[in-house]
């Protein structure tokens, strides 16, 4: 058995860590590229959302690299992500590929199913051992998410362009070999020290922007044209509504963000009064939270035809009006051009900067 999983930002680091601990053979597909997209598009249903198309591409590349077992997450709705694994199976079998599909259904779909899948992924380990592995791997992943959050926030303040990105890369390299609890603690301190050592000019006037939207588009730099780094270099300090560990973990606490699901749902009232699957409710809730916290603007990113975030997009103009905060939505699919997105982003950031300057002048 040679396991593989699709890419989604730094998800591969978590998988590599877990697979190394459980001792199973794995192969990761090459990083998502234009070729991945092309392969995925060839077989995917026309108006499924971009994440499905790209992950199908990932799987094809992984199979070509020798993988025979595809690991995919499941779900219980109402977002169609929960049914992706079945569709991927249908599509890839139809295209003539041979493989096993291993679907990690959330415990909500039945504990037995969940545990059985874990047992396949960790042969010969007891439930307790598996739990320990997940716990420690998650601890490491949370540190990495913390590093990312730090980079998003402070990239705008760096004195030498590109320092933060370099430091972030180095910090992740420091984290990678950490295995035991103690090693993770030591590596974490060292990694954060590297990030903090980056020379910053904290008096710089920066624009604060919150990013909301669908998790895959937010987390995978290939599909969002790495706009986080781009914005950081433009002098925009960012906060994001989705982090990998918050998203994977079933707990409603959202440790990295520090806001519970309940608080997000409360914030979204009365604009959106019920969850609508995916990131629909969080997108609305976070936009309001950002507005209340005095952010200068909100950027929403989501794939074309994404149902939950289309709902959020319909509601965001109201929030923009009522809270007096500029909001821009980007709908991304395989036709989206980088230049188009970046031009609009630049104009948006210019608007935010001049608004901010104006407000400082008139003293609002």
């Amino acid at each position: 058995m040679k396991v593989t999983a699709p890419h989604m930002g730094k998800l591969d680091l978590i998988f590599k860590d877990i697979f190394a601990r459980t001792g199973i053979d794995y192969v990761m597909p090459p990083r998502t590229s234009a070729k991945t997209m092309q392969l995925g598009l060839r077989y995917s249903p026309e108006f499924a959302c971009l994440p499905l198309k790209v992950t199908i591409g990932n799987f094809i590349e992984a199979i070509e690299a020798g993988a025979d077992t595809l690991l995919m997450a499941g779900g219980v709705g109402p977002c169609r992500f929960g049914y992706y694994a079945e569709i991927q199976k249908c599509v890839l079998q139809g295209a003539g590929y041979e493989f096993n599909m291993l679907v990690l259904e959330p415990p909500a779909a039945g504990w037995k199913l969940f545990i059985d899948t874990l047992r396949v992924l960790a042969p010969g380990k007891s439930i307790y051992q598996i739990w320990q592995i997940i716990k420690i791997s998650f601890r490491k992943a949370r540190v990495m998410d913390g590093l990312e959050k730090y980079a998003l926030k402070y990239r705008a303040y760096e004195v030498h362009r590109g320092d933060t990105t370099k430091a972030h890369k180095k910090a992740l390299e420091i984290m990678e070999p950490a295995i035991t609890d103690r090693e993770i603690t030591a590596a974490s301190e060292k990694a954060f020290a590297v990030m903090e050592a980056v020379e910053k000019d904290m008096d710089k006037s920066v624009v604060k922007v919150g990013i909301v939207g669908e998790f895959y588009i937010l987390l995978e730099p290939f599909v969002n044209f790495d706009i986080e780094e781009y914005l950081g270099h433009m002098g925009v300090s960012l906060e994001r509504s989705v982090y990998l560990t918050d998203w994977i973990s079933p707990s409603p606490k959202n440790q990295i963000m520090g806001i519970t699901d309940e608080e997000i749902a409360q914030a979204a009232k009365p604009y959106l009064n019920h969850f609508v699957g995916g990131e629909g409710l969080p997108s609305v809730g976070h936009a309001i939270i950002y507005a209340k916290e005095g952010f200068d603007g909100v950027i929403q990113l989501f794939p074309f035809t994404c149902m939950p975030d289309t709902i959020a997009k319909s509601i965001l103009p109201q929030i923009s009006r009522d809270f007096d905060i500029p909001v821009i939505s980007f709908v991304i699919d395989e036709q989206t051009g980088k230049a188009g997105i970046l031009t609009r982003l630049e104009a948006f950031i210019d608007l935010l900067a001049s608004r901010k300057k104006h407000r400082e002048l008139v003293g609002v």
Partner: protein, 332 residues
């Protein structure tokens, strides 16, 4: 500014409530009408979709929304000056363990976000996921807007349920929803040499504007038309359960169940699947249906993707070719 499920004030007993003739109208109108009338309200529904309604809807809706939701907005705008309140329930789940479309989960909020000075929006929650008690509590909560008598609310609901049962019986017998709701039942059952199954969401299949009058055209060309409403729910359920993973959307389970049933029993000569562009569920179900149809040789399957730009000529050409092909097959 916003009106939540329960308000301090009671609606006047003679309030006029509008139900848009779109989306779940085709499924639950008799239930909702009976319930609201039982509570003492006047009920008005909008008329069949027209070009004006579509234009009104598409001009206020987000681009990325599907055509049926855009049309729903158009109907809300059509009704806004005629009624005191609009009835836009939040239908979360209609059977254990499933959801409806995410857009239905957020429909009242979407309606409130429409920039068109709409009247009050009544948004009772229908959610069977949390059990019977929860469902009825939400119902009584909503009913309190009209009356304090729990008995009256209960009676109103039962009136609606009875009307709904009668309606579904008619549909099962082959009456189309619009005909059943319009009153002149039994006039349609066409006799043609071909039998075509129309799969798809009822709001696509039964709205003549959305599907460019497809059903009428098929009948004119001498084809008999069957839809999912003409199959027993038990059968739909059984067929939908054949999927390797349980589908978690109720209405899509019915679409899949109907198509699988026709393929399995070979009771139709061909299947036309109507789907709206940008519909999340349809995009995935299309894969499931096409995969299954390939396994059943001899029953041609065609998908028709529809949006606000669909042209009648393009549709006619394709459907005519499909029908010709079916006839040609039965000859050879």
């Amino acid at each position: 500014m916003y009106f939540r499920g329960t308000w301090g004030c009671n609606l006047a007993l003679s309030a006029t409530i509008g139900i848009p003739q779109a989306l779940l109208y085709y499924k639950y109108y008799p239930l909702w009408e009976g319930f609201l009338k039982g509570l003492g309200a006047e009920v008005v529904s909008s008329n069949v979709t027209t070009k004006r309604i579509v234009n009104a809807g598409t001009s206020v809706a987000e681009n990325e929304l599907c055509l049926p939701v855009k049309i729903f907005f158009g109907h809300l705008i059509e009704l806004k000056d005629k009624v005191d309140a609009l009835f836009v329930p939040r239908v979360i789940s209609v059977e254990q363990g499933t959801y409806t479309c995410p857009k239905f989960l957020g429909l009242p909020d979407l309606a409130r976000a429409v920039d068109a000075k709409l009247p009050k929006i009544l948004d009772p929650t229908f959610n069977t996921r949390l059990g019977r008690r929860h469902f009825y509590e939400a119902l009584f909560d909503f009913g309190k807007t009209f009356t304090n008598s729990k008995y009256k609310i209960w009676r109103a609901w039962m009136t609606g349920v009875a009307a709904q049962k009668a309606y579904q019986k008619k549909l099962l017998a082959g009456v189309s929803p619009l005909e059943a709701l319009g009153g002149d039942a039994g006039a349609i059952l066409s006799t043609g040499d071909l039998k075509i199954g129309i799969a798809g969401h009822p709001y696509n299949v039964h709205d003549p504007y959305i599907n460019l009058n497809l059903i009428k055209k098929l009948k004119k060309w001498g084809a008999q038309v069957v839809t999912e409403e003409m199959i027993l729910p038990r059968v739909l359920e059984h067929e939908a359960n054949k999927l390797p993973k349980r589908l978690f959307w109720s209405y899509e389970r019915e679409v899949v169940g109907a198509a699988f049933h026709w393929l399995q029993t070979r009771t139709v000569d061909g299947i036309i699947y109507i789907l709206s562009f940008a519909c999340g569920q349809d995009s995935l179900i299309q894969v499931l249906l096409e995969t299954e149809a390939k396994k059943h040789e001899g029953i041609p399957f065609m998908s028709l993707v529809i949006d606000e730009h669909s042209g009648e000529a393009g549709l006619i050409t394709r459907v005519e070719a499909f029908i010709d092909m079916l006839r040609w097959r039965s000859l050879s």
